[in-house]
């Protein structure tokens, strides 16, 4: 479904954010990327979304090079990014083409899936942070995308809301069989929401380790292998720090 081959990204100021990234996501697969701040995770997502072009290498979506944003790819950010002047239903319909009548049903269905049907006529200012983020998820779901990109989608929420939304998203993913590429700082979140976890390191950003999550979908936090996996992930995140420090010193 998604294929990155030898992707590198340097900015106009000469800074190289990504180097030699190879990545493949199959249909229905859920992949998480964890990495320290500034290692190029968001940059990677922007390349996949078609918001920026790679300096070298190729980004292919279903075999086609990604040149511009694609309706088959949804994007969910850390902030909901709702238009304050649009009601919830119009924010969700924002991603859709076609006449108002044609948009009504997909909007309603997307709101139903995030459990916010009754809030269709609210303005974003009237929603709590968690509800606003669910509207953003509904907006991403409305055009029936094949791939969803999530850039630290739950990190602005408090712990309880975060766990709620993670569960919610898990169920959604199960029922829709969406491919997802999730970027997060939160190692636990990566384990709960992904089948495969890639560890990224900075200077310049590259993928340095890959872990498979072979735990049952429900209640992963309580599952037996959870703690081990978490430790393994934290170790590989730390792993590269010493050499980086030496290189800078």
């Amino acid at each position: 479904m998604l294929l990155l081959e030898g992707v590198a990204k340097s900015f106009r100021n000469g800074f190289t954010a990504l180097k030699a990234i190879d990545l493949r996501i199959d249909a229905g697969e859920r992949v998480a990327i964890v990495g320290s701040s500034g290692c190029g995770k968001s940059t990677l997502l922007r390349l996949v979304a078609g918001l920026a072009a790679p300096s070298t290498g190729r980004v292919l979506l279903n075999g086609e090079p990604v040149l511009r944003p694609n309706p088959a790819v949804g994007f969910i950010y850390q902030e909901p990014r709702l238009m304050p002047w649009l009601r919830v239903r119009d924010n969700v319909g924002f991603a859709l083409r076609g006449r108002a009548a044609e948009r009504r049903e997909p909007v309603r269905s997307a709101l139903r899936r995030v459990g916010l049907e009754e809030y269709a006529s609210f303005y974003p200012k009237q929603l709590s942070g968690g509800m606003a983020q669910r509207v953003a998820i509904a907006r991403a779901l409305a055009p029936a995308p094949k791939l969803i990109l999530l850039d630290e989608p739950f990190s602005a929420l408090d712990a309880i809301k975060r766990a709620d939304l993670q569960n919610h998203f898990l169920r959604l993913w199960e029922s829709e069989k969406l491919s997802t590429l999730l970027v997060t700082h939160d190692v636990e979140e990566a384990i709960v929401l992904a089948d495969r976890i890639l560890v990224m390191h900075p200077g310049p950003g590259r993928i340095s380790a890959e872990l498979r999550v072979e735990l049952p979908l429900e209640d992963r936090r309580q599952a037996r292998g959870f703690a081990d996996l978490k430790q393994q992930l934290l170790d590989s995140l730390r792993h590269d720090e010493a050499p980086t420090l030496v290189a800078h010193g």
Binding site: A49, L51, R68, P69, N70, P71, F75, Y77, E79, R81, M83, P84, W85, L86, R87, F94, A95, Y123, P124, K125
Partner: protein, 275 residues
């Protein structure tokens, strides 16, 4: 929760009446002082005399002629100045190149008070309508321009990127994200400039005009008709208040989503402003 006024019908009545208490008392005091001869009529006629003068002007039709002339000048000048301000605000807000080319010139011109231009404007246009409309447009232009420009520049870049993620054309991004996003700021500019339009018009009409409310006042001065002068001044106050109310209505209509203009629930309305 601290409540300033009780809610319900009595509370509402109180809230409408209390703000008029001080003006009403002042008016009564003024009337009584005039009647007792404490204030000479030549300095300040009694409120009743002023009301009578206004009534006579209304009856003779003079009032409506001058009023409509003034309103047309303010409205015309406002429309021209605000459209240009909006146009250049959007242009410079969107295009860095246009900003580079134009903004510093605008900033320089902005520092000239429009009223300082009066002698020059009279030389250019004489004392015809163009002079006053030009002055009003000039005064209106800058607040609308600046607020439009700032409104556009302060739009959340995340929202603009959202538009790109969903493949909106540049034109759609302007009409569906940039303009609504800048609207609160644009309307602040509009409201501010409406006030300025009247101020400039007053001065413009008093210095060089043969119609309009400012002319009415200056003409009355020659005949020492203090009542008409005071009446014209009150008229300006009313007109300013009226256009401000109009601008606020516009804000309520166009910004139902904005927290400042949300139709407040009863519970919320009952709360005093400072709690």
């Amino acid at each position: 929760m601290v409540r300033g006024f009780s809610s319900g019908r009595r509370g509402r009545l109180k809230r409408t009446l209390v703000p008029w208490l001080v003006p009403a008392l002042l008016l009564a005091f003024w009337q009584v002082s005039s009647m007792l001869g404490w204030i000479p009529t030549r300095i300040l006629p009694a409120p009743t005399a002023i009301a009578l003068a206004g009534l006579q002007l209304a009856r003779s039709g003079e009032l409506w002629t001058h009023l409509s002339v003034s309103a047309a000048r303010a409205g015309g000048g406002f429309l021209i100045g605000a459209s240009l301000g909006l146009f250049f605000g959007v242009l410079n807000g969107l295009l860095r190149r246009a900003e580079l080319l134009l903004d510093s010139s605008f900033q320089m011109l902005r520092n000239i008070p429009p009223l300082a231009m009066i002698p020059l404007v009279i030389l250019w246009f004489g004392i015809g309508e163009e002079a006053r409309v030009f002055l009003v447009s000039l005064g209106v232009f800058f607040p609308v321009y600046l607020n439009t420009f700032n409104g556009i520049r302060s739009i959340d870049p995340g929202l603009l990127e959202m538009g790109r993620v969903y493949g909106l054309s540049n034109w759609k991004i302007i009409t569906d994200i940039v303009l609504p996003g800048a609207m609160p700021s644009i309307l602040v500019g509009v409201r501010f400039s409406l006030g300025i339009a009247w101020i400039i018009l007053i001065v413009g009409e008093q210095i060089a005009a043969n119609s309009g409310i400012g002319y009415l006042a200056m003409n009355a001065r020659e005949f020492m008709q203090t009542d008409i002068i005071v009446f014209s001044i009150l008229l300006y106050a009313l007109l300013g208040k009226f256009s401000d109310a109009l601008a606020r209505k516009l804000e309520f209509r166009l910004l139902p989503w904005h927290p400042n203009f949300q139709r407040l629930s009863k519970e919320f309305r009952a709360r005093p402003a400072l709690s």
